[in-house]
């Protein structure tokens, strides 16, 4: 996004392709940012809106790159973009939200990390850019019944012999502009571009891969992004800190750092870099919401390299009474409505057992599942952890091994917001200097 804005503001046209229905990435899920405790949404929205309205930026959301063809030696590509069918005509849609209000079906929201619902027709995020909904074809009652009629699971004619009507269709009935279009298909667009910036971002390792931490089966054990949604004023509980199982306010919360990180045997070998800071932030914010509550953090060591970061950690420990325990948690399990956390405090050499109301796992940062596919398509080099590799990791960190393709963000390795933004501007500068060079030599 930063790269797109920098390039667009220099007068070049930018195509921005986003897999999700709206832009902003994981930052849109965050409650506050470290170390300033700025509201993430408040500092993000001006940027997303600027992107959405920029005369030089064309947004392809709910879209992915289908294929890429290189036409010249450097910086000359033909890109085929597949825009997934939203089953809503976005040109007609005004974003009024009537369809979402009337849709009677709810499923777990991936944006809410499974701790909150969304309707089957939904807008991806709050204050979404673009503010357009999509229909989840798999779970839509109307589309299910159409599929069932086609496959003969339910009869295609009713008892009177008339063609059977699909079920539900509430959105269809209530859309004031007639934008619902169940017949919509994926569309392919072909575009010519001079440079590509790959900024695919990150994901978190699945809790299922951490069976000693409940394997994702204990409702009150959540990952860091889910706890962001618990804290967020736009989250499922509107900023009230409650736990998923029974909606009670958790009075004892245990944070476990390095859940999968720095664990070559069971997880990933590298440090996920952002967890020490976001855990401190989450513990502070938890204490700000629940004054009588107690937060504990299990850590291997705290890594706070960054301006104001160590001071921020000290604030968590000194001002907000967060108890930091140096040691790993060997196991946790559910007992009644508590989560029993068994760990060790290597400073006092004692084993520690905490009956917690909620546990937050700082799960390892991993590349997006699709990054391997993107690397294959573009001919990019990846490291052993499937992060993209720059042509020279020290001196050219944003230049890929393929001429005309540049890299930015957590797709290269775990990084926080300031570093990502800086790298994006760096990638934009490299693109602009390439364009300038071409102009001079042309």
């Amino acid at each position: 996004m930063q790269a797109a804005l920098d390039i667009a503001n220099s007068g070049y046209e930018v195509l921005m392709v986003e897999k999700e229905p709206s832009i902003g990435g994981h930052m849109a899920q965050l409650s506050e940012t470290f170390p300033t405790l700025d509201c993430a949404q408040c500092i993000l929205t001006p940027r997303t809106v600027e992107v959405g309205h920029h005369e030089n930026i064309r947004l392809y959301t709910y879209s992915e790159i289908e294929s890429i063809q290189r036409d010249g030696a450097e910086g000359d590509f033909t890109v085929t973009i597949r825009r997934r069918a939203a089953y809503i005509d976005w040109d007609k849609c005004t974003g009024c939200g009537a369809c979402q209000e009337k849709c009677p079906f709810k499923v777990f929201s991936t944006f809410e990390r499974g701790i909150g619902p969304r309707k089957v027709v939904y807008t991806h995020s709050p204050q979404a850019v673009p503010n357009k909904p999509v229909i989840d074809a798999e779970n839509c009652r109307y589309m299910q019944s159409v599929r069932d009629m086609q496959s003969g699971v339910i009869p295609a004619v009713d008892k009177q012999g008339n063609p059977a009507k699909p079920k539900c269709g509430a959105c269809l009935k209530f859309c004031p502009t007639g934008a619902i279009d169940f017949e919509q298909k994926d569309t392919l667009f072909e575009e010519k571009v001079g440079a590509i910036i790959v900024a695919t971002g990150y994901d978190l390792i699945s809790m299922e891969s951490l069976p000693e931490y409940g394997g994702g089966k204990i409702p009150d054990v959540v990952d860091g992004l889910a706890f962001e949604r618990v804290l967020s004023s736009s989250g499922p509980s509107a900023g009230k800190v409650i736990r998923p199982s029974d909606g009670k306010t958790p009075m004892e919360v245990v944070f476990i750092q390095c859940a999968g990180s720095r664990d070559p045997e069971r997880g990933v070998p590298y440090c996920s870099k952002i967890c020490c800071m976001y855990t401190a932030k989450q513990a502070i914010l938890y204490k700000h919401h629940v004054h009588e509550g107690q937060a504990y953090v299990f850590y291997i060591d705290t890594r706070t390299g960054g301006k104001g970061y160590e001071e921020f950690l000290n604030r968590a420990q000194e001002e907000d009474d967060v108890v930091y325990l140096r040691g790993k948690v060997s196991k946790l399990f559910r007992e009644g409505d508590k989560v029993i956390v068994k760990g060790v405090d290597t400073l006092s050499n004692l084993t520690v057992e905490i009956a917690a109301d909620m546990v937050v796992l700082a799960t390892a940062v991993i590349p997006r599942a699709s990054s391997r596919q993107i690397a294959d398509m573009l001919g990019l080099v990846m490291d052993e952890n499937d992060f993209f590799t720059a042509s020279n990791e020290e001196m050219e960190p944003v230049i890929s091994t393929v001429p005309g393709i540049f890299l930015a963000g957590a797709g290269l390795g775990p990084k926080d917001i300031p570093e990502t933004v800086a790298q994006a501007s760096g990638a934009a500068a490299k693109v602009l200097s390439m364009f300038q060079r071409e102009k001079v030599t042309a």
């Binding site: 069976p211 000693e212 394997g215 196991k331 399990f333 007992e335």
Partner: protein, 298 residues
């Protein structure tokens, strides 16, 4: 089909109930256990020191004995199994060490023996379906908690039997016997192991946690595949007024429950020497043999 069998020291002394019931059920299932003609202690612990040649002599010699009878051996004792499988694995991947030990023992071992636990034979050869078909006294309504301990499954990269965090092999065995299997969070915790010798307070404390948790989750009995786990969980309950733990719970070997479910006579159940006598659990079942012996106190 008979199976070469290594009983090990504990099953020949302290844990005879495991040995007797194990041999009897294997016989009843048509795959009798054939004791190795010559054997000695397995070594009792897998050596983790860098210089481990001395400690590997015992398991290597044992594996050489196994090769003399076809190269395959099964055990009931989880610790013997652990030591033998890991030693086998280590020797296979360290030929220079194998040569050195062979030179010393003068009983050449090729490094190619197969070590299995009896549970694996049940799962992979007989299959759980096959086992359930042989059950004539399904233990319906008996709420049992499988207790895996550590050494049966860990380290998973070498043992390769089951997932130590979410094990199922005992669960499946007990389900095949008709039991109601109770999940409880301490199922793969350590029982304290050999600290029973040097620091008996610790296993006693751990046993208290493990047995209390199993009872809290509604189990009537704990079921294990390890003689040391059995001892460490059973022995602290020896006094009948167990105030520290608020009650007693019998600790059985899976082979003992199999003996009951397969309708074998009580003489081969091997339950006489338990600190908490488990036999009352079976009073309500219509046993095909020996139900009059159930209340036989010794």
């Amino acid at each position: 089909m008979s199976i070469a069998y290594f009983p090990g020291c504990t099953l020949s002394t302290k844990a005879t109930g495991y040995d007797i019931s194990g041999r009897a059920v294997a016989q009843a299932l048509g795959m009798p256990l054939e004791e190795l003609p010559e054997w000695q202690c397995c070594g009792a612990t897998f050596p983790l020191a860098t210089e481990n040649s001395m400690a590997l002599i015992a398991p290597t010699r044992l594996l050489a004995q196994v090769e003399k009878v076809g190269g395959k051996v099964t055990t009931l004792c989880a610790i013997c199994f652990h030591v033998l499988r890991r030693s086998q694995n280590f020797l296979e991947n360290h030929p220079e060490m194998l040569d050195r030990i062979n030179w010393f023992t003068e009983e050449p071992y090729s490094g190619k023996a197969t070590v299995t636990h009896f549970l694996e034979i049940l799962r992979d050869e007989l299959t759980w379906k096959g086992l359930s078909e042989k059950v004539n006294t399904p233990l319906k309504g008996l709420r049992v908690a499988p207790y895996y301990g550590c050494l049966l499954l860990r380290p998973p990269t070498e043992i390769k039997m089951d997932d130590p965090e979410n094990p199922t092999i005992l669960h499946e065995c007990l389900t095949a016997l008709g039991c109601d299997v109770v999940d409880f969070p301490y199922q793969s915790e350590c029982c304290g192991s050999y600290l029973a010798v040097s620091k008996p307070d610790l296993p006693e404390k751990l046993a208290g946690e493990i047995t209390a948790s199993a009872r809290r989750h509604g189990a009537q009995a704990l079921v294990t595949a390890c003689p040391l786990c059995q001892f460490n969980l059973d022995y602290p309950q020896r006094a009948k007024d167990q105030a520290w733990n608020g009650g007693q719970i019998p600790v059985l070997y899976f082979t003992q429950l199999m003996a009951v479910a397969l309708g074998l006579e009580t003489a081969v159940w091997g339950m006489e020497n338990h600190y908490v006598d488990p036999r009352y659990l079976f009073e309500s079942y219509q046993l095909s043999v020996g139900s009059d012996q159930l209340s036989d106190e010794n």
